[in-house]
Structure formats: structure tokens, C-alpha cells
């Protein structure tokens, strides 16, 4: 594990946002996932495409049921029955994951792409020591490494998330929530993956611990220059942490912008509603929710799925699904309102 040198590199070359010259480390194209339920087909991911450069942090926001976690699971190829990945590709560092054999995919998990699931801290095995679980993870990927080397790798990972090496010999119940969450991050970075997906890593933690955990993720991400996808619905956390924000609605990406563009000038009406519903210190006592309810994926409205709640809905929104189009400046938005501005690609 060579975190020290990687740290220097990351310090000097942080990927610029609109890097046209660099090849992105992660490329997701036309990903589609459908759940075949007894009540009908639910399209949980519909034509999702985006890419991400090394060292970038992308925030994925949306209401519950908008497909954020499904996207993470699909990228890991961990969608279970009755769900199916219907199409699309996920390419990490030149390797296309969807075409891999099951055994190769198993090896790619954790070494190329790591996933820290929601409530990860509850996924630690209560009856084995933390160290054992970490060694397990390494062993299943790197055969033939000496015990000492594996041990050192684990200790190094623990240190890089600010945990005492003594944690290696502890059980999960001896740790606090924030410490358990950091153990999960340590496991995630054991093999220095190119892409780390964090699914609501701090939703059960209080603000101080939350800040500690996010600062830990930030630091290890810079050390190994990985791309990070942060899934969540806390826009405040996004403002503090990510470079880019992607907004999902009913299984589709509706906008991808830099965090500054998103907070100062959101384009998509749903993103606008999301931003204006945020609390701040100036508008005390004003509660502005988003009117209406999120649509059921089983009965999606025709055309743009947001049109029943949208103040700008037109006849065209009701009949035609808007595509995700690039606007000048590199941001992407899926809304008929911006058709004139969209670049013809």
C-alpha cells in the first residue's frame, strides 16, 4: 500500500471539472434496470449515463425510490431478483464490468469499485474481530500475500481513517457508530479501488460525527485519488463535500451540474424545487416542501415523469420524454425548457 506517494500525486493534479482531454475513470452508459414485480414492471433505472474523473466527487441526490441505491447496486452488478440489468455498460479504467465473468466481477469488487452500503456499520459481523473481517476481504482478492503484508495493509487502512491500530483486535460492539462507519470505509479502501460508492454514509450519525466521517472520506479519497459517488438526500452535506451534483427523479438523471451551478442556478424544475426547499438561517419558520408525491415506478406518468408536479409543464412534457442534453458550459439537463440552449451533439 503506497498511500504516501499517491497523496503527493493527488495534491498536485486534482482533476479539473470539464476535462475533455483526460479519459474518465468511470463511464456509465445507458444503464437500465427493471424490477419484475407481481404488480408489473418497474423501471428503476432508465437510460442513465454519466462519467467521472479520478479525484472527482459526485453527489447523487433524489427522493427515496428515485433509483439512487439501485444505480449503486447496478454498478456493482449486485441487483437481485426480481430485478434485472436490462442493458448498458459500466466501464472503470478501461474494463467493462457488465461483460465480465462472475468470478472476474467478484475480483473487481473492492479492487476496482468499492461500495459502502447504507447503514454499513450494521453489516459488521458481531462475532468476529474487525481485523479478521479485514483480512478476509484482502485474502479473497490477493492470493499468496504473506500474512505480515496483509496485516500491515489492514493496519495502514485503519490508520488512514484515523482509527487506532488496536481496533484491529476489537469487536464491532466495542466501537461507536462513527468508528464502525470508519471501519467500513477502511475496508472499502483496502485495495485502493478506482471508484468508491458511499450510500448515505452518515444518515444515522449526529452532526459532529458526520463531519468527522465525511472529512475521513475526503482525505482517503485524495490519498488514493479515487472517484467518489456520494448518495444521499442531504443537500447540505452535498454543498460541503462534492464537486458535482447529479439529481435523479423516478429512475432518470434529470440534471448534472457542478455544485456551484446547482446551488446558484438550478436548471431542472425539480432541482429548483429541491434547492428552494432547503432551510437556511434567513427564512426562519418558512417551510417549503415540494408539492405532490413522488410517482410510483409502476405507474409512471407519460412524458416527463415530473410533469404532474411541475409548474412549467407543457403539452410536450406530457407526451414526450425529455432527453439528457448538454448545455453550454458542460452541465446536463433533461427538460424541454432548455431545448433551444442545448448543444447539438
Amino acid at each position: 500500500m503506497n498511500l504516501a506517494t499517491a497523496d503527493n500525486q493527488a495534491g498536485t493534479r486534482r482533476a479539473p471539472f470539464a476535462a475533455g482531454t483526460q479519459t474518465p475513470v468511470l463511464k456509465v452508459e445507458n444503464l437500465e434496470v427493471t424490477y419484475y414485480t407481481d404488480l408489473g414492471r418497474a423501471k428503476a433505472l432508465d437510460d442513465v449515463s454519466f462519467d467521472l474523473h479520478a479525484g472527482q466527487k459526485l453527489g447523487m441526490v433524489g427522493e427515496s425510490g428515485s433509483g439512487k441505491s439501485t444505480l449503486a447496486l447496478a454498478m456493482m452488478r449486485m441487483i437481485k431478483q426480481p430485478g434485472r440489468i436490462e442493458g448498458g455498460t459500466v466501464t472503470i479504467d478501461g474494463t467493462e464490468l457488465m461483460g465480465l465473468k462472475d468470478e472476474d466481477m467478484r475480483k473487481a469488487r473492492l479492487s476496482k469499485i468499492a461500495y459502502i452500503p447504507q447503514g454499513a456499520m450494521n453489516s459488521l459481523n458481531p462475532v468476529t474481530r474487525i481485523g479478521e473481517q479485514m483480512v478476509d476481504a484482502v485474502k479473497s482478492h490477493l492470493n499468496g500475500q504473506s500474512r505480515a503484508a496483509i496485516h500491515e495493509r489492514c493496519i495502514h487502512a485503519l490508520k488512514s481513517v484515523d482509527l487506532d491500530p488496536a481496533v484491529f483486535r476489537m469487536y464491532a460492539h466495542e466501537l461507536s457508530g462513527g468508528m464502525k462507519q470508519r471501519v467500513c470505509i477502511a475496508i472499502g479502501i483496502l485495495l485502493e479501488p478506482k471508484v468508491i460508492i458511499c450510500d448515505e454514509p452518515t444518515s444515522a450519525l449526529d452532526v459532529v460525527t458526520q463531519r468527522q466521517v465525511m472529512e475521513t472520506i475526503d482525505r482517503v479519497q485524495k490519498q488514493i485519488n479515487a472517484a467518489v459517488i456520494l448518495i444521499g438526500h442531504d443537500m447540505g452535506l452535498m454543498a460541503q463535500f462534492v464537486d458535482k451534483v447529479a439529481v435523479m427523479y423516478a429512475g432518470r438523471l434529470v440534471e448534472i451540474s457542478t455544485v456551484r451551478e446547482m446551488f446558484t442556478e438550478p436548471k431542472h424544475p425539480y432541482a429548483q424545487a429541491l434547492i428552494s426547499s432547503l432551510p437556511n438561517l434567513d427564512n426562519k419558520g418558512v417551510f417549503q416542501g415540494i408539492p405532490g408525491l413522488a410517482p410510483s415506478l409502476l405507474r409512471l406518468p407519460s412524458g416527463c415523469a415530473f410533469h404532474p408536479r411541475c409548474p412549467y409543464a407543457s403539452d410536450r412534457s406530457r407526451s414526450e420524454k425529455p432527453k439528457l442534453k448538454a448545455l453550454p458550459g458542460g452541465r446536463m439537463v433533461a427538460c424541454h425548457l432548455y431545448d433551444q440552449d442545448a448543444l447539438n451533439v
Binding site: 472529512e215 454543498a239 446558484t264 438561517l281 416542501g289
Partner: protein
Amino acid sequence: MSNLLELRNVTKVYSRGVINANATIALQDISLTLKEDEPTIMTVAGESGSGKTTLAMLLLGFITPTTGEILYRGKNITTLRGKDKLAYRREVQAVFQDPFAVFNPFYTVDHLLTVPIKQFKLARTKAEARKKMEEALTAVGLRPEDVLGRFPHQLSGGQRQRINVARALLLKPRLLIADEPVSMVDASLRANILETLRNLQRDHGVSIIYITHDLTTAYHIAKSIIVLYRGGVMEAGDVDTVIKEPQHPYTKLLVDSIPWPDLNRRWGEQQIKVREGGGRSHGCPFMSRCPAAMEICKTQPPLYELNSHHTASCYLYSQQPEVVRERLSAFLPS
């Protein structure tokens, strides 16, 4: 002016082991008064382990204080019997954190609402019960035809949480204890639930004790705030003053760590010291993490008066007049 609820020097100690080797002070010497005729929203804030849920459990009568007493309308709640007990049970209601865990998945929503109606004999006929249910649901912004007769799994988290509020409302409570009611709910639905709670206080005269670790929502809904850390009151007062101008180092850390959805307001640079486990010493509970810790902090600091609506328990303000702990409520505007 009579008091609805009064806490007198309440301390709760959890002890493990026969010889009392391991005692955790969950709540230390809290005195608090809620007036009967001034419905208010009071926030109790603090991180996990600060004793905020212990306080909720004490107020609901699920656990009894180790020392001190809790009076409801002047009567000690542990010795309430008969009619008084029933009235207390009806008038003090709770909304809990997890809207997914409080429903029995085998019953429809109606069950959750009819049980209290039967229990407290609120309605004489089925039609009257139905009408009461519909009124309560409408009051929290739900359409009765949308939710009645449906099973919990058919409803969203926000809908479920509002049904919980409706259930509490049905009983016409005087005091609602809301323990992290929005922490598991989508950001876009939070606004709706908070608004429901505020309307409950404004229109129905219900006092609310809002327990949370989220100072953003606390700021928006509450009038006064008490900041707890490891069972002790760190700072208390008017919510605007405490959150905009925090004085206690712990409150400063908390406010500094709020992820504001504002690009010009970043997280502070201040390094966070890790909390040490185990029991606490006799001094200021925050001492081990405090950047301004002094020698004197090894003894418990009293409350100091900062102004008429602001008090903090920290030796940094030792030139200010001291406040006896029993007078805490005087600093909380209603």
C-alpha cells in the same frame, strides 16, 4: 399560572454490575418547567449519548428518575393512579424517530388510530370514531381516503410519520414529545412534517418537546433550546441567540458542524477531538474535547447568565452572574 410539567433536579443513572462498578450518568440535575397556558416548542439538542432520549423516556414515564421528581399538573408521575394516570397517558403523547418500526405490518392504518379511540373511550359510535380519525388525518395534511384501509407498506415514510402525528393529535394532548421525528424522512417531506408540528402548537395549543441532533430544523421550529452533552446542560436559551451566537465551546462545535446548504458557509477548520469512552469525571463533561479547557474545568461549572434569554455552563463566562440550576426555565422564552 399553573405548571403543566415540572422536572425537579432530575438525575438518571444507569448502573451495571452488582457492586455499581459501572455507572453512566445519563442525565444530571435537570430542572425544567413547562407552563400550562403558554404552549411552546422547546428543543432538546445534543449528539448521541447526550441523554436526550433518556429525557424523553423519563417524561413519558417509561423509566423513573434515580433522584429528583417529575410532576405533571403538580402530581408526581410515578405515583399517579386511576383517573389521573389515564389523563396523563392521554395528554402526553409521543412521536418516535423511526416511522418504519412503529407500525404493525399485519394491521391496516385504521388499527393504529382506532385502538386509542377505544382505549380512551373517545367516541360512542363507529361513525363518530371514523369522523374523529378523518379530522385528525386532515389536520396533518393527509387525505383520509388515501390512507385509511391501507397497510403500512403501502405508505411512504413521510405519510407514516404524519399518521403518527395524527394519532397523537386524536387524543388532544397537552404535550407532545417528538424524538427525532424527521431524521428518517426525505428532505422534501421534512418541511411538511415540521409545519404540521408547528401548526399543532399554534392552532391546537399543544406544547412540544422536540428532541433532535439537527440544529437546522430546531432553529426553524423551536422557540427555545437546551443543549445537552453527556447528561449535562451546556447551554440554553432563545433558539435564535443560541444558534446564531453560540457561546459554549460545545455548542460552537455543533453549530460549526452543521452542513449548511450554502457554498459560502463551509465547515469550520477546527479539528475535532475524538470523544473518549467510558464514564465521565466530576468536572465539565466536555473538558476532554474542549479547545479552551482550563485547570478549573475539573470541577463542575455552574450555569452563568449571559443575558436574560441565554445561559451557558462554562467557566469562560465566570465573570457573569451565576444561576442556580432550578432557574433554567427562566431563560427559555415561550
